[in-house]
């Protein structure tokens, strides 16, 4: 063994080591590739921000400060029509609940048509899947706008929007759950001589029911979030109140409403977490 010191390493030592381990000194191609991709990302960001007129950000400080200060200073709190606000929040929750419930019911039917093991016919399965892609691919706010156009302003459009987008999401997730079930358990039930209805009851349901319930609860949580903004396009709920008051320049009230919504959403997440635990135990999904 030889002792060594960093300061004592000479050019000759380096070239001697380089001769024996040339690859340890880094591959120039890899280095160039790394540098190139970082440069590309930076150039892209600079270019795209220029395209989006990032300069506006620096001219906007006056308006931004004005906005922020008016959001933070709450004035005339007795005239804020609280009943209206809380009715809006209640309506939002109700919309999310009804939409998710209807979405769940319809997704249950569609999922079996979209799963490979329950729907061997390729044509129908693919047709159903593409339809689900359309339901999912369009954001619930867009559906909200479409339904407002079709059935008019109000929570009905909101319920329909959540229904359609939840149906798309849930049917896809359900069908994946159905495809992932454990065949052995089903065969075990079949081996006892059970008929089809019993195979479904004891072979399939115990496996997929907890997953389905958990997915629907998750979906309810996310629907509550999307229901709050459906009102921005006129589809009922708290969003309508937010946008009305925002347009009227009542920024302090907007801040108050948003805070309330955040609290309500946190409470719903917590509650649905409790129910999930009850149905599926601690293991979660």
């Amino acid at each position: 063994m030889n002792t060594l010191a960093f300061a004592a390493i000479t050019e000759a030592d380096i070239s001697a080591v380089r001769k024996r381990h040339p690859k340890a000194f880094g591959n120039p191609l890899v280095t160039a590739l790394k540098l190139g991709s970082w440069a590309f990302i930076i150039v892209y960001l600079a270019w795209s921000l220029h395209l989006f007129e990032v300069g506006k950000l620096f001219n906007a400080s006056d308006r931004a400060w004005q906005l922020i200060s008016r959001m933070l200073v709450w004035r005339d709190m007795e005239t804020w029509q609280y009943a209206n606000i809380y009715r809006g929040i209640a309506q939002t929750i109700a919309m999310a609940f009804l939409g998710t419930l209807l979405g769940t019911i319809f997704a249950l039917m569609l999922a079996f048509f979209a799963a490979r093991n329950t729907m061997p016919g390729g044509v129908i399965r693919h047709a159903v899947r593409r339809l689900l892609d359309v339901f999912r691919g369009i954001d619930s706010v867009v559906w909200g706008l479409v339904f407002v156009r079709a059935v008019g302003l109000g929570p009905l459009a909101g319920v329909l929007a959540i229904w359609v987008s939840d149906m798309g999401n849930l049917a896809k997730l359900y069908s994946e759950a159905i495809e992932n079930i454990d065949r052995k358990q089903v065969e075990g039930v079949r081996a006892t001589g059970a008929d089809t209805s019993r195979i479904i009851r004891y072979g399939y349901l115990p496996q997929i029911l907890p997953v389905f319930i958990s997915l629907s609860l998750y979906s309810f949580e996310s629907s509550t979030r999307s229901a709050t903004i459906l009102g921005l396009v006129g589809a009922g709920g708290i969003g309508m109140i937010i946008i009305e008051r925002f347009r009227a320049g009542l920024f302090d009230q907007v801040a108050f409403v948003v805070l309330n919504v955040l609290v309500v959403i946190a409470v719903i997440d917590w509650g649905s977490g409790l129910i999930r635990k009850r149905f599926i135990g601690e293991r979660g999904h």
Partner: protein, 274 residues
């Protein structure tokens, strides 16, 4: 010279290390023995301040280590390298980068964030790896190595720090006897050839007897023995190990193959390990 003056560690209500006062002269190889939970690891980790002492002082060459902060503390950690039981290497980086990380203290913010190492550092790292017979693995991803190989990489990383003290926290507890021997031989060689102080936590009595100049025995946070291997009688050892005595002694039986210097570490190469 490393001086301990009443160094104490307290976790909530339990005292892990009761006031410890002793001195380690330069160039000594010290083995700390004792059963698990005796406070060996805490004592060792207090030396490079990975565990903060609750009370007491520690001095190195007259400098008060226990009062260091910020950059000075990091400089001290750079000066006293540590080898861990679980190697504590970055598994997803390659071996040479792991070894070069031993020089991070000398890097500026930008060069360390960008992961840029100089050619001199690369050559130095390869030399260090070569010394432990690991240069051929330089470009492998570290978590593909065996335990024994990883521990040698960890020692190479400690070497490129150019430390003045080498701390080893149960360096062979996760290794099979053959690799344990390679690692202990390497530590002994570093101690004898480079003149580094080596402080080493060991679980097995036999290894400590064979490799160390001095043995410190700990029991429930108290230093109950401090002397040369010869002075450590079987009776004293049984007292240190208490209920774990049989285990420590039987391990000693199985590790009789461990004799220092039987095979030169650089030549051992240990291809067996895979």
């Amino acid at each position: 010279m490393l001086e301990f003056k009443g160094l104490t560690k307290q976790f909530n209500s339990t005292v892990a290390v009761k006031p410890a006062t002793f001195t380690i002269p330069d160039g000594q190889m010290v083995g700390i023995i004792g059963r698990s939970g005796a406070g060996k690891s805490t004592l060792l980790r207090m030396i490079n301040r990975l565990n903060e002492p609750s009370a007491g002082q520690m001095l190195f060459q007259g400098r008060e280590i226990t009062a260091l902060k910020g950059r000075d503390l990091r400089e001290w950690r750079n000066e006293c390298a540590m080898v861990f039981q679980q190697f504590n290497l970055v598994g997803r980086l390659n071996v040479i980068t792991n070894v070069m990380s031993g020089r991070l203290f000398h890097h500026g913010f930008l060069s360390s964030m960008a992961g840029v190492f100089s050619e001199k550092e690369r050559a130095f790292a390869i030399r260090a790896l070569d010394r432990l017979g690991m240069a051929h693995t330089a470009l492998q991803q570290t978590d593909t190595l065996s335990g024994g190989q990883m521990q040698r990489v960890a020692i190479a990383r400690a070497l490129v720090q150019e430390p003045r003290i080498m701390l080893a926290d149960e360096p062979i507890a996760s290794l099979d006897p053959l690799n344990a021997k390679v690692v202990m031989d390497a530590l002994r060689a570093i101690n004898q050839q480079d003149g580094l102080t080596v402080v080493c936590n060991l679980h097995t009595l036999d290894t400590a007897r064979q490799y160390c100049d001095r043995i410190i025995g700990m029991q429930d946070g108290v230093i109950v023995f401090d002397g040369t291997p010869k002075e450590l009688t079987d009776k004293a050892a049984r007292e240190i190990y208490g209920a774990e005595a049989e285990e420590a002694f039987s391990e000693a039986l199985t590790s009789t193959a461990l004799r220092p210097g039987a095979v030169a570490p650089a030549a051992s190469e240990a291809r067996v390990v895979n």
